[in-house]
């Protein structure tokens, strides 16, 4: 990057907020996605929307790519600066600006840690439901740009269901506000929704108005184990069919249970073929009756054991085990690939079975866990990226998993985003017409392609990225 540009950036955000040392650049060259890395040219940490706008203007003027980055927990290489340029940090823009108890909204800057927001609103008896597994680390800005899901998705929906309004810096540097503290707002296109899940490819979110709901008074957790995956899947369908919508129904298969238990020691039976972790929240009477009904359904579908957590501590231990599933699988091998193929919930059993067959076919280990209630599965492959031959088989297995998911009426990604990792498969889901429509949107917002380039859309001649 030209020195004069670095100088101008420093004038905007201050010397200490533009990093160009080789150490800093290296430290922002990656996110949590294995196999992707690219060194940016500068790391810039603005303090407010106006500074962001000024930075964006300069970048637009000089065709400099901008990759917005929260805590870098992305799993689709969405926050790796694949074409260099500027990595935009929000470490100074991390304030909760307001919790409005009359309108039940929170106004926040993008750098707020998800867990921090959840705790702050809980203190006021409110709930911000989206709870991705990385919530102790991830930022709200990242959650919005990826439209993150979480464990409570089944009952409460995902991030997009909780974004009322956004402040956005557009690629030309102008500042736009969408939505507001409004339940109803049909003034034109729904730009709020367009930006939620746009993966930083359309602009920079610098503020958000989020919807809150009353904190449920009561919560109960239960765990059922199965000797047969099919029985677990049937249980999920039967619960929904009985008109019960639990807060979460999480699924862990046997290889997952085994490693999770080894690390967390919460007393999971490691020989079970499938485990369902079910949680319900709400008024105590409803929770108790729902849990009882669901326990009955579990038994009806041949659950080997059904345990209702006695207290909060026991419940927390069980959910902690599920939350750490991904990272725990990382103990098996040096590299861990985590996907999020998602199917209609009625198709969970066929999908899990297909994954198991694909694992055998390509001779790779696949641990599958995920949000069975909303069909969002996480087939996870412990491997070693240094073993090229095995890595190739892993790639083949994933390609087939994506095809199968789409065939079952599902999608290639439920909550991690397309990024660079799944860009080659986007066409599977969208078809040519869908891709063209999205490219049209991208083109009209960001004609110079400075916003997180190299993501979403796959170009055959895309620059080869470092695979280490």
């Amino acid at each position: 990057m030209e020195k004069s540009i670095v100088q101008r950036l420093k004038q905007i955000v201050g010397d200490q907020n533009v990093e160009t040392s080789s150490m800093s650049l290296h430290s922002y060259s990656y996110d949590a996605t294995p196999g992707f890395r690219k060194t940016p040219d500068a790391v810039v940490a603005p303090a407010n929307t106006e500074e962001v706008a000024e930075v964006v203007k300069i970048c637009n003027e000089h065709n400099i790519p901008i990759t917005s980055r929260g805590s870098g927990t992305n799993l689709s290489a969405g926050t790796t600066p694949l074409q260099g340029g500027v990595v935009l940090l929000f470490k100074h823009m991390n304030k909760i600006l307001e919790i409005d108890e009359q309108n039940l909204t929170a106004t926040v800057q993008p750098g707020v840690i998800t867990q921090t927001l959840i705790e702050a609103v809980e203190e006021k008896g409110l709930l911000y439901p989206p709870d991705p597994s990385s919530m102790t680390v991830s930022t709200i800005g990242g959650n919005i740009n990826e439209n993150s899901g979480g464990l409570r998705g089944l009952k409460y929906g995902v991030t997009r269901d909780y974004v009322f309004g956004l402040k956005i810096v557009l690629p030309n540097g102008s500042i736009m506000e969408t939505g507001g503290k409004l339940m109803k707002d049909v003034a034109g296109y729904d730009l709020t929704r367009l930006f939620v899940g746009s993966e930083g490819t359309l602009g920079v979110v610098t503020e958000a108005i989020l919807k809150l709901v009353p904190l449920p008074a009561h919560k109960k957790t239960m765990l059922a184990t199965y000797e047969d995956i099919d029985d677990a899947a049937k249980t999920v369908s039967a619960i929904i069919k009985a008109r019960i919508i639990p807060a979460t129904i999480e699924f862990l298969d046997q290889p997952t249970v085994e490693v999770v238990e080894a690390y967390n020691q919460v007393g999971l039976p490691t020989d079970a073929q499938a485990i369902l972790l079910i949680e319900q929240d709400g008024p105590e009477s409803v929770v108790t009756s729902d849990i009882e009904k669901m326990a009955g359904i579990c038994k009806e579908f041949s659950a080997v054991t059904v345990n209702i957590a006695k207290d909060e501590e026991e419940a927390n231990a069980l959910t902690t085990a599920r939350r750490s599933a991904l990272s725990t699988i990382a103990r098996l091998r040096p590299t861990t690939f985590l996907e999020d193929a998602t199917v209609p919930r009625s198709q969970v059993a066929p999908m899990v079975k297909a994954i198991n067959e694909i694992a055998i076919k390509y001779d790779v280990k696949i641990c599958t866990f995920g949000h069975a209630g909303d069909g969002n599965l996480h087939p996870t492959v412990p491997t070693d990226v240094r073993n090229k031959e095995e890595f190739h088989r892993v790639e083949q297995a994933f390609a087939e998993i994506f095809e199968k998911a789409v065939e079952l009426g599902g999608t290639i990604t439920g909550e991690h985003g397309v990024g660079a990792m799944k860009a080659p498969y986007l066409k599977l889901k969208l078809g040519e017409a869908g891709i063209q429509a999205m490219k049209g949107i991208k083109q009209s917002f960001d004609p110079n392609d400075i916003m997180n380039p190299g993501k979403l859309f796959f170009e055959a001649d895309q620059e080869e990225v470092s695979h280490r």
Binding site: M23, Y28, A32, V137, Y263, S327, D384, R468
Partner: protein
């Protein structure tokens, strides 16, 4: 750093760093929220465990040249290892850090004064218990001859960094040489005999903190332990290991292993979280030494913190009493993160009749003592300490309990800096427990 040095460092990284361990970091970022330097730096990735591992790996893979910036961020890590229990992939960060620091250090030309200090401390002082005794008796002379009074009066300590000057005020009243020489090598159990233990006395604990060691032995006697104190033991080597002096650490480790093999005890007891953790790592330290690896493994199996054995032998069920006061506990990072001992001290403190135990917010976060960190990175260390004292004040505690001499001195320093020395004190847990035993005897 010139090109030749950089090349040598890079080569050493490639030869010596554990590549599998580096690869094990999946960059999930779960370490970020527990890392004191990441938080203190205002969320700078280069100051986080994930960032530091990426830099080490970058050097190994030839993606980045080793330079002063990287050396600095590695040195500014507290080494508290809070990232290890938080790491789902089980990456052994502490061992990676030590290896990386050792490589930088070996390829470094220290400035003459730094070299002299390092040589005096690492070669001349800590490995030699008699010299530690000499230094301590010098300190005793200083404290009791009127010199201390005079020094303070003429403001000599103002010439030193603020934390060191304050440190001078909070050093414990140390024993005389005669008192130090009067230590026994064998102590017999009281009550019913339950175990034979060997006591790792530690170099600092045995001199500057002799009272703490005395209390430890008394507690062990009370729970029915026969105690052997091998006199050929020496400094654990933690300070050397953490500061990039690995070879010296290995020498000390071998001497200790030999010393404790002579007395065949059930357990080896420590009362310093930092030493205990390093003793626990001897098996890793000597894993490539065919002659010593097995011995080291057997040695580490026997290491137990004083709080662990006290709980195991039901000390907390004995009558314990103290006047009403609010007590809080500051975790020793290495006791918690490496030895995984954090419940036992709390069980013990909550079993005392009278005081109210108040858990501190972020009790597990490093106080900034971190070996010699508070001397070599004084300014950064004080930032960590200021945060810690804020949390202490919220508890309204009048007694801060610790389980490691470094933490103890740092908390004393914090109390002094906050001007709270007339209403707050810091103690090692064994001292409080002995007080509680004595108080309950008085009825």
């Amino acid at each position: 750093m010139n090109t030749a040095v950089k090349e040598r460092i890079q080569q050493d990284f490639q030869d010596r760093m554990d590549r599998d361990e580096l690869e094990n970091c999946m960059r999930c970022g779960f370490c970020l929220p527990v890392c004191p330097t990441y938080i203190q730096s205002g969320y700078d990735e280069t100051q986080s465990p994930r960032g530091r591992i990426a830099l080490m790996k970058g050097i190994v893979d030839g993606e980045i040249e080793p330079d002063e910036d990287i050396e600095k961020t590695l040195n500014e890590c507290l080494g508290c290892r809070a990232c290890e229990p938080a790491c789902p992939a089980g990456v052994n960060y502490g061992q990676l850090l030590e290896e990386a620091r050792d490589i930088f250090n070996q390829n470094k030309k220290h400035s003459l004064p730094a070299k002299m200090v390092r040589k005096t401390v690492f070669d001349g002082l800590f490995p030699h218990q008699n010299r530690m005794e000499n230094m301590t008796s010098l300190l005793h002379f200083y404290q009791h001859s009127g010199m201390q009074k005079m020094t303070r009066k003429i403001g000599f300590m103002k010439l030193f960094p603020e934390s060191m000057a304050t440190m001078e005020r909070v050093l414990p009243d140390v024993p005389t040489r005669k008192e130090m020489r009067a230590r026994q090598k064998y102590y017999q159990h009281e009550n019913k005999p339950k175990a034979t233990v060997a006591f790792f006395k530690g170099c600092l604990m045995d001199t500057m903190f002799m009272e703490t060691n005395k209390a430890t032995i008394e507690l062990l006697q009370k729970v029915g332990c026969d105690i052997v104190v091998p006199d050929t033991q020496n400094c654990c080597g933690a300070l050397h290991g953490h500061a990039g002096e690995k070879d010296k650490a290995k020498e000390l480790a071998k001497k200790n292993i030999a010393a404790f093999e002579e007395v065949n005890a059930d357990f080896i007891i420590t009362n310093a979280g930092g030493c205990g953790a390093f003793l626990n790592d001897y098996d890793h330290l000597l894993k490539d030494d065919p002659e010593w690896a097995d011995h080291a493994a057997r040695f580490t199996e026997k290491i137990k913190d004083i709080t662990t054995i006290l709980v195991e032998l039901d000390f907390h069920k004995m009558p314990l009493k103290l006047p009403e006061q609010v007590v809080t506990y500051q975790d020793s990072c290495h006791l918690r993160n490496v030895q995984k001992t954090f419940e036992e001290p709390r069980i013990l403190l909550q079993s005392i009749d009278g005081p109210h135990y108040q858990e501190m917010n972020d009790a597990a976060r490093c106080c900034g003592s971190a070996g010699i960190y508070n001397i070599v990175h004084s300014e950064l260390s004080m930032k960590h300490l200021d945060y810690k004292m804020e949390q202490v004040k919220h508890t309204a505690a009048t007694t801060i309990v610790t389980t490691n001499p470094g933490c103890l001195l740092q908390m004393k320093l914090g109390i002094e800096r906050e001007g709270l020395s007339d209403k707050m004190r810091a103690v090692h847990i064994v001292e409080l427990l002995i007080e509680a035993v004595d108080e309950s005897k008085r009825g």
